[in-house]
Symmetry: C4
Subunit: 348 residues, 4 copies
Amino acid sequence: MAMVCLSDFEAYAKKYLPKMAWDYFAAGADDCITRDENILAYKRIRFRPRMLRDVSVMDIRTKILGSEISFPVGIAPTGFHQLAWPDGEKSTARAARAMNTCYIASTYSTSALEEISAAAPDGLRWFQLYIHRNRAVPQQLVQRAEALGFQALVLSVDLAYTGKRRDDVRNGFRLPPHMKLKNLEGAFEVCKTSPGDPSVSWNDIYWLRSLTRLPIIIKGILTREDAELAVRHGVQGIIVSNHGGRQLDEVPATIDALVEVVEAVRGRVEVYVDGGIRKGSDVLKALALGAKCVFIGRPALWGLAYKGEEGLQDVLRILQDEFRLSMALAGCANISEIGPHLVQFSKL
Amino acid sequence: MAMVCLSDFEAYAKKYLPKMAWDYFAAGADDCITRDENILAYKRIRFRPRMLRDVSVMDIRTKILGSEISFPVGIAPTGFHQLAWPDGEKSTARAARAMNTCYIASTYSTSALEEISAAAPDGLRWFQLYIHRNRAVPQQLVQRAEALGFQALVLSVDLAYTGKRRDDVRNGFRLPPHMKLKNLEGAFEVCKTSPGDPSVSWNDIYWLRSLTRLPIIIKGILTREDAELAVRHGVQGIIVSNHGGRQLDEVPATIDALVEVVEAVRGRVEVYVDGGIRKGSDVLKALALGAKCVFIGRPALWGLAYKGEEGLQDVLRILQDEFRLSMALAGCANISEIGPHLVQFSKL
Amino acid sequence: MAMVCLSDFEAYAKKYLPKMAWDYFAAGADDCITRDENILAYKRIRFRPRMLRDVSVMDIRTKILGSEISFPVGIAPTGFHQLAWPDGEKSTARAARAMNTCYIASTYSTSALEEISAAAPDGLRWFQLYIHRNRAVPQQLVQRAEALGFQALVLSVDLAYTGKRRDDVRNGFRLPPHMKLKNLEGAFEVCKTSPGDPSVSWNDIYWLRSLTRLPIIIKGILTREDAELAVRHGVQGIIVSNHGGRQLDEVPATIDALVEVVEAVRGRVEVYVDGGIRKGSDVLKALALGAKCVFIGRPALWGLAYKGEEGLQDVLRILQDEFRLSMALAGCANISEIGPHLVQFSKL
Amino acid sequence: MAMVCLSDFEAYAKKYLPKMAWDYFAAGADDCITRDENILAYKRIRFRPRMLRDVSVMDIRTKILGSEISFPVGIAPTGFHQLAWPDGEKSTARAARAMNTCYIASTYSTSALEEISAAAPDGLRWFQLYIHRNRAVPQQLVQRAEALGFQALVLSVDLAYTGKRRDDVRNGFRLPPHMKLKNLEGAFEVCKTSPGDPSVSWNDIYWLRSLTRLPIIIKGILTREDAELAVRHGVQGIIVSNHGGRQLDEVPATIDALVEVVEAVRGRVEVYVDGGIRKGSDVLKALALGAKCVFIGRPALWGLAYKGEEGLQDVLRILQDEFRLSMALAGCANISEIGPHLVQFSKL
């Protein structure tokens, strides 16, 4: 089977992963409306391509928080990579490094931060965290991440409680016994069943700020009101995200929410987006609408499920090639030529 | 089979109920467009969830007509509960009481008002009625209900004639001989085949008013004009309802009609809604658009069909859990924080 | 099989009619988009029903061109009724008479005008015609119709050439040898293969006017411009029609075109509509949008195919019952209470 | 099997062509959204037909760049006609000549320009080209085309790189060894794998202009901005095209893009359109929206696949008959009567 586009990896993963693992990765909350909308919303956006522009020399590199990446696609934080591939997050880190892009490691990794760091010491790595009820947990994690060269903190704010994913309930999903939440061993066992603290509020951003010199990126913003609050509370970036449709169902597709967040932010901080990216032209649309970079979740897991580090590189390379081709056919030779003039919302 | 969401109960009921009973409960008028629209319309509404609000202490209680209920979901009046479970409305009354919510008993019950009342003496019960051509019928029913501690009257106004439900016609639907319309025994036999009086008009509200000190709620309003008339005729509440799509087909979904009714009422009386509620987030949407409480019809019957009182409690508990989770994930810790800012109508 | 709604008759006809006959009746032009849109467009209209109005005494009679009919549904002109039932148009005429409504007999009948007239001498009959290249043909037909008591002429203007109905081409459709176009025997043989004259223009209305004292109704108007021209040329009525989607495909559904025609006509002449009527509530929608009466084409043929005169009466009776019930549930006790306030176009 | 409409030819070609050839012709880029939208967009346009106009004498001839053609449908440039029929482009040229219309021969023909010219010496032929990196290639091709009596040059500008057509990648599509790119033999072998030069820009139009006295038509414009630039750079015509959805996916359907291009051009040059034409009424819609002529791509290949020259004539004849009939039924007797008043965009 030739791996030509990301759907090929999805089909492979669906076929070869254990059902419980596939279901966990594929899950959306409730009726999965937002999970699916994330994809459909991209298909309602049309390009306005320009012709006869010199696109012989293509430059698709960009910078996020000052670090150059080979193209504007990073790896979103997702948990439990060992469910997809034995080497888990270590493979993910190596693939991201090999493709010269950014990997946001999840607190809920099946490899420890230290292992991830060792797997790709000079890779661009960010660390995703929740603020646990026991503040010692995030405090220690932040310090470890900073010490290990992670270059930014990504605070997830959309998981006060875990969304209702029906298949996980039916399957009685739990991590197989030989896999461990390596970042939460020992004293932090308690965190394993309840990731966040529902009492967390905006003031906790100041507390987090006080712990570290790393940039703070807030993940899970969907409204202009919260975007404005995020900027006012001094974050360095916003990831427009609905957690892959796994938390509150029937929130807007991220590409739709991106428009209002970008408008509210007015360039004061960088805005990223995840959810629904399935081909290179989706990346181009997100950038045209104001995202600095996109992050992929499930497609990265499909790549891992296919061939570990190598499979994830395949996924990234396909996205990269498709993105470059889309840019060229739309008449853009480099990232700075991408703008809102490039897209319009379809009438249907 | 795990009962994870309301669709699981629907599937169970469809599988195990006699076809004639299932068809009767499932029936919609004509092409069933409104019956299905009631559900689809909810799916076109999107949340605008707010992050980083303290939702560690959730309070989902509310009050309807001054009585506290554990969460804003009551049991809508539907007929013939013995078709779903041998103990019929007595089970329904007990389940509502156990979950500390409101049960609107139907005139067309297969248990007598007296039995319903005895099954849950201290439960919050309202009584639904039609104004029959022979005014002695509603007059006697009102007096019985008031004496038995029912706390409000719900007047159905959308059944001047019975809608055309094709499957019922094909099945030649009729109540099995061992079931009785217990509220209409003896002198009231005549009412069994024609529930309402097509000559009833707004002035009859005054007549009903004169019979009782109970609050009067009008059920079946779909337009701003009628909402205004209801308020002017002194009712205490309005249930926006299209009778589950069983009367005039191709009227608007109730969640769409709710918007215009709430706008017209301007807070002068409480507004409720029924029809199409299938998950906790639907309740949240209805409240965001101005409903004080929602009522469920068919899902309650599926719960009864599954395990009687216990099954209906399961249904209510799932809705309650889902509603609480939706609220929290949308950033609301109590009912008063729910408002129109929480939702938007989808472009599609 | 119980005949509960019009779809039941359609299913019967599809099952029992010879394929060539079924295909001919069912045919639409090209991709059949307009044929199907005629039906779908009704489903996008929503009622705004009013409650608590006295609908105990229902009066659904109306008048068209001064003649009373039992309810606002007549029989549209369609050809070749013997393809559906041996007695053909004679059965149609009898059924229309029995139900006290109007039958528009087609020039392309398999019974002669004289036979149709004899079958229902005191029935309300209109006669449909084309203006043939040889003006002697329409002239003679008009004189016969007038002499036989037909009370109006319905001039079809949308058949300059016959539309392309793919199935008819594939089937090599032709009338079975034992059926005759009885109105075009003898000298008029030539007309059988080319119904109209593509050179006909508005001035021919004056010529037709000069031949007869009967009211002239123009059938096939879809635009405000042509509606205005029709009024100016002195017609007494307009049937908004797209020939059941059998002529130019991808013209608007008739219920959509009705709105602009009614607006243009401003009450100066009566406006009727055909196409897509499948249940009583469709009739109510057409009247709410300004039609004085609707005409049914294919459903009448299905009724004939089911049981001839009796089957067509069944179809009409079902429509009548459904129409009366819809009116009552919408809060209208008679035709004069129907108006545009009763409907709204659905957002979807 | 009767060939009644273009879909019949499509079904035939799908059944009888080798899979690799069918896939190549059918291919769209990525998800094939634009390929399919080209067709769907036509179905959202409704006619506003006018009645009682004299359409007895129909004249459907038109002129493009001063040359008369029998009806406003030409053959779009597509490659590799020998994949469809042994005689390849020679058959195409003969069929176009026989039907008295225009054939745009592709650079990527499997017959040489000289052969095409010899097959239909007095036919109206245009020549399509790319500007290759090695400018000697287009220069020589232009000179050959001009010498051979081709009457215009069609410059494709939407193929800076080849679009990603997944099936072609999976199939490892390549021309069978016995077929040759006859126009690119010998010194031009190099061009076979990379048709265009991604550095081409608007200034190259001036260079092309300097080579020839033939009119230059630019093919692949989709925006008003590029339409304005095309006019300013002195082209004689614009073909609104998205390369049959084979280049950048999710650009607008050509019939939608046509509207904005026609508006921008304001009659200064002729505008044509290709993509999605499947029946005569599509041609009428394109003309109503301002196209001077349309060009068909895949349908021409299906005709070739069916019966070579004869099959393509069948396709053109069907389109011609359907176009004439549509015009007549819409009330237009000649091309000059077609205008924007004839169409409206559907609400759905």
